[in-house]
């Protein structure tokens, strides 16, 4: 991993490189707090694996003294007074936040184009999106600006941009990494994840940030499951993939076979209902999680409001983007009294059913492989996927969030100049099994390096 000696020149060179990509919303030296972090005095003096290693932080994860915009006008000027647990653990290990990375507003989207503050381009092809919602983190890692970055994964938000940018993206077991300091979108689904350019870095960072946290009572101690695996389940039947992704998929299957894994075809009938269940639960939780932004204590406050109700209405109308408003409205709708059985409760039942199906799959196979996303990175704007198509395309990623299991998106090939990723899923706590399989696959299919990637400082 790169170790930075001259932080000022490092930050200025990534700032320069990022001009085309726009993966960062803020660099460390933009604020006195950030400057403090990169100045000599605060750097860890003893040598550790991560000492003087820079990392990116998705801008919905709190770093003391840096902004916490969530890609939203609502929090454009909000400065965090505290560190997220994952950030605090990395700082204690000697790593240094290089800046905050762009995202879809409040994590809602699959392209990062839903950010109200910046448009991030895919470093492989600047006319294309970097994926989302942790798109800034994935683009920054792919471009070599940082060796790793923190992201958040609610329905694929770490894995999908990782696959679009040709890097590794880990969604850990639910609860294994504390959510404290992660701005809530859908609390029961999301987890803090890692985007990195190697399996080794992903593993190292995971081992540092995992563990039970008193500030997050849904967090749990990581009880590592066996890393051994002999078989990988894959879905039978038509998957509805683009030709690029299909090509990558075939290469991955062949690569795993060549690595000695047995491939077992399975069915996951509940997958068809996953999207509906996922969005029902996520939007319901979002409608409450985003209620706190009312212009009273912090965040955007409408200048023209009179009285409390008007202040709330106008501040939220002006501060939130369309996709956020849509999800709040739908979430409010599905939670109405008298309609919960029809929507929210039913979604929870589907969730249980999805979990049960995975249990069955893992009774037959040690791992499961699925495409991360049905397409490679699409273009910005109308020529790409529309918002509804993007939601349907989350079908493969949301399953792991509904089931709470770990999943790792692995770069397997480059097709027509665009990276393609496959996600490997494992039973809870079996992250090490994912890393071991990814290591083996890398011997067969070495990850391609993004053209123009920065190397060394």
């Amino acid at each position: 991993m790169i170790k930075i000696k001259d932080w000022r020149s490092y930050i200025s060179s990534i700032r320069e490189k990022d001009k085309d990509i726009n993966s960062f919303l803020e660099f460390a030296d933009d604020t006195s707090a950030g400057t403090g972090l990169i100045s000599g005095e605060t750097l860890l003096s003893r040598e550790t694996l991560l000492s003087r290693v820079p990392f990116g932080v998705k801008d919905n994860i709190a770093v003391t003294g840096m902004r916490l915009t969530c890609g939203s006008k609502m929090l454009e000027n909000f400065v965090s007074p505290y560190d997220a647990t994952a950030v605090a653990k990395l700082k204690a290990a000697g790593a240094v936040p290089a800046g905050k990375t762009n995202l879809d507003e409040f994590g809602m989207g699959s392209s990062t184009d839903n950010s109200a503050l910046a448009v991030t381009n895919n470093p492989w092809d600047l006319s294309r999106v970097c994926g989302g919602s942790s798109g800034g983190s994935a683009a920054a890692v792919a471009a070599g600006l940082v060796p790793f970055a923190l992201g958040t994964d609610t329905g694929g938000s770490v894995r999908q941009p990782a696959s679009f940018c040709g890097v590794y993206g880990l969604k850990p077991t639910y609860g294994v990494v504390s959510r404290f300091g992660l701005v809530a979108y859908a609390s029961s689904l999301e987890v803090c994840g890692i985007i990195a350019d190697t399996v080794e870095t992903t593993r190292e960072v995971f081992n540092i940030i995992k563990g039970k946290d008193g500030n997050d009572q849904t967090s749990v101690e990581h009880l590592p499951a066996s890393p051994e695996a002999e078989s990988i389940a894959v879905l039978s039947g038509e998957l509805g993939l683009s030709s690029e992704v299909m090509a990558g998929y075939q290469k991955a299957v062949d690569g795993f076979k060549a690595s000695g894994y047995g491939i077992i075809e399975v069915e996951l009938p509940m997958l068809e209902y996953g999207i509906a269940a996922y969005y029902t639960i996520a939007m319901a939780e979002a409608s409450a999680n985003l209620a706190r932004y009312n212009g009273v204590r912090y965040g955007h406050r409408s200048a023209s409001a009179e009285g409390f109700d008007d202040l709330v209405r106008k501040s939220r109308d002006e501060g939130f983007g369309d996709e956020v408003k849509l999800r709040i409205l739908l979430g409010t709708y599905v939670l109405r009294s008298g309609f919960q059985d029809q929507y929210y409760t039913r979604a929870q039942k589907i969730r249980t059913a999805v979990r049960n199906e995975f249990d069955k799959v893992f009774g037959r196979a040690d791992l499961m492989m699925m495409p991360t996303f049905p397409t490679a990175a699409f273009r910005h704007g109308n020529s790409g996927l529309d918002q509804f198509q993007q939601k349907l395309a989350d079908k493969f990623t949301v399953a792991a969030n509904l089931a709470g299991i770990p999943a790792l998106s692995i770069p397997v090939s480059v097709e027509n100049g665009l990276p393609v990723g496959m996600q490997l899923m494992a039973p809870v706590f079996a992250e090490e099994r994912l890393f071991a399989a990814a290591d083996k696959l890398a011997l067969q299919l070495p990850p391609a390096v993004c053209p123009g990637k920065m190397e060394g400082f």
Binding site: A288, R297, L335
Partner: protein, 478 residues
């Protein structure tokens, strides 16, 4: 027979006596500089999570157990969604589907009867902040935001405001006894809302009206009395009761309409994803059993039956757990129960008041009067080693000098003037010095008696037992 049947239920909120707030480490303290006991968690900043206070859970279960509720083995928290400036997250974390306690019943005295009220449920929730309106501006103080609030909901079984008030007072005494709440209604650490409906007998509940702003148990009776009459008038004149929330206006002694239920919120309750269900184990339930104390009503009955206190004495003693504990300790140490209760109600209460202590301070380390010291004093009194006035003086000295009574008495030479032999000599001497007074006494005039007693007391520096002096005067002048 009343024309209508009345149904009254209470919703009581008590602030639990925890050091810190329900979901963060902020002090649970009021009256401090506004917004000084706050942090990102209780201010609802982006990214924070609640961490449930174990002490709040323990105190909640103690109340549920004391109220004989079914204790939940799988308690859940829910979000109650509504926008209000004093609610930092714009949802309140509360309990809805699986509260800590369900059912349960509690006996209380009303008039000469022991009555029983059933509970609907008891649940824990976070309190909101406080709005202060001044000079056309609304300000928010979030010191109270996120403090621990336990809500106790009774069934609508009270028939009169008097019953509701009697229950509320008994309940207040009980939570103070349990040490879970200070019960201060004026400061809002115990708050009460009531609901009341009337109907033709046998027809069940009527359309209910909620009454708020009941800041003292006295208001409960007054407001409910007023509200029952108002509803009777409406129905008798052919009207219909509007289901609504009304505020008690103490100045004008009326209830006023606040909001109608038609505009009621849909709170969109759903399970709080940030808190796992609370599933207590056997050890937890055993700990709750061990935390239970004898409740005021039972204790009062026991003091009357076993220690022969009068009902008034027992009421006084049982008002405060600390006082009752103190009293029973003196009895255990050998003090006469009647003597102890009289001194606690009399001189000890006076001294506490004079020195700025509360009855609740009795037995605490900072209070100079310990049960041992009071017992020592009362036993010297009972053994006739000192007399009442000296005992009172000694008690004052115990508070002022923080010393044991025996030591004070010894230092000051306050023990009863030696024996009757010595005293007899002194009395005879005084009588000899005042022949005129002796003559008057012999002639049947009682007045000079006091004069002689005073002289003797002066000569003995107050240590003579006035009764002994009296009887010696009788003997020596007859």
């Amino acid at each position: 027979m009343a024309e209508y049947e009345t149904f009254i239920g209470l919703e009581i909120h008590i602030q639990l006596l925890t050091e810190t707030k329900i979901f963060c480490g902020c002090k649970s303290k009021f009256g401090d500089e506004p917004n000084s006991n706050v942090c990102p968690v209780c201010l609802g900043y982006p990214g924070v999570l609640p961490a449930l206070n174990e002490e709040a859970v323990r105190l909640s279960y103690i109340v549920c157990r004391a109220m004989n509720c079914r204790l939940s083995e799988n308690a859940m928290f829910e979000r109650k969604n509504y926008f209000y400036p004093d609610l930092t997250k714009n949802y309140q974390i509360t309990q809805f589907s699986n509260p800590f306690g369900r059912g349960g019943a509690f006996e209380y005295e009303s008039g000469d009867e022991i009555k029983k009220i059933n509970f609907h449920e008891i649940h824990l929730e976070e309190d909101a902040g406080k709005m202060i309106h001044q000079g056309g501006k609304s300000l928010c103080d979030y010191n109270r935001a996120g403090t621990c609030l336990l809500e106790i909901v009774t069934e609508p079984e009270f028939k009169t405001g008097q019953e509701a008030e009697d229950f509320l007072q008994a309940f207040r005494r009980t939570v103070r006894h349990l040490g879970v709440c200070d019960g201060n209604m004026e400061e809002g650490s115990l708050r009460c809302d009531a609901n009341i409906s009337i109907n033709t007998p046998g027809m069940g509940l009527g359309r209910k009206v909620e009454v708020k702003n009941l800041n003292s148990s006295r208001f409960v009776k007054k407001a409910l009395g007023y509200e029952r009459k108002r509803q009777e008038k409406v129905i008798s004149s052919g009207g219909i009761i509007v289901q609504e929330t009304r505020l008690w206006d103490e100045d004008r002694s009326v209830t006023r309409s606040m909001r109608s239920k038609e505009q009621a919120h849909d709170y969109r309750y759903f399970p709080e994803p940030d808190l796992p269900p609370f599933r207590p184990d056997k050890n937890f339930f055993a700990m709750i059993e061990n935390s239970l104390v004898e409740l005021p009503l039972t204790r009062r009955q026991r003091l009357v039956e076993c220690l022969k206190l009068t009902p008034d004495q027992a009421d006084y003693i049982c008002e405060e757990k600390a006082l009752a504990d103190f009293f029973e300790k003196t009895v255990g140490l050998g003090a006469d129960p009647q003597l102890s209760v009289k001194w606690l109600m009399g001189n000890a209460a006076k001294e506490l008041n004079r020195t700025g202590f509360q009855k609740a301070d009795l037995g605490s380390e900072g209070c100079p009067l310990s049960a041992e010291r009071l017992t020592e004093l009362l036993m010297m009194l009972a053994d006739n080693k000192i007399h009442g006035k000296i005992a009172a003086k000694t008690l004052t000295a115990v508070f002022d000098e923080n010393k044991n009574p025996a030591a004070i008495i010894k230092e000051n030479g306050w023990e009863n003037a030696a024996d009757d032999g010595d005293l007899k000599v002194i009395v005879q001497k005084i009588l000899d010095e005042n022949p005129k007074a002796v003559e008057q006494i012999k002639g049947g005039d009682e007045k000079p008696r006091g004069f002689i007693v005073g002289k003797v007391m002066a000569a003995t520096k107050g240590t003579a037992n006035p009764q002994s002096v009296q009887s010696l005067i009788m003997k020596l002048t007859s």
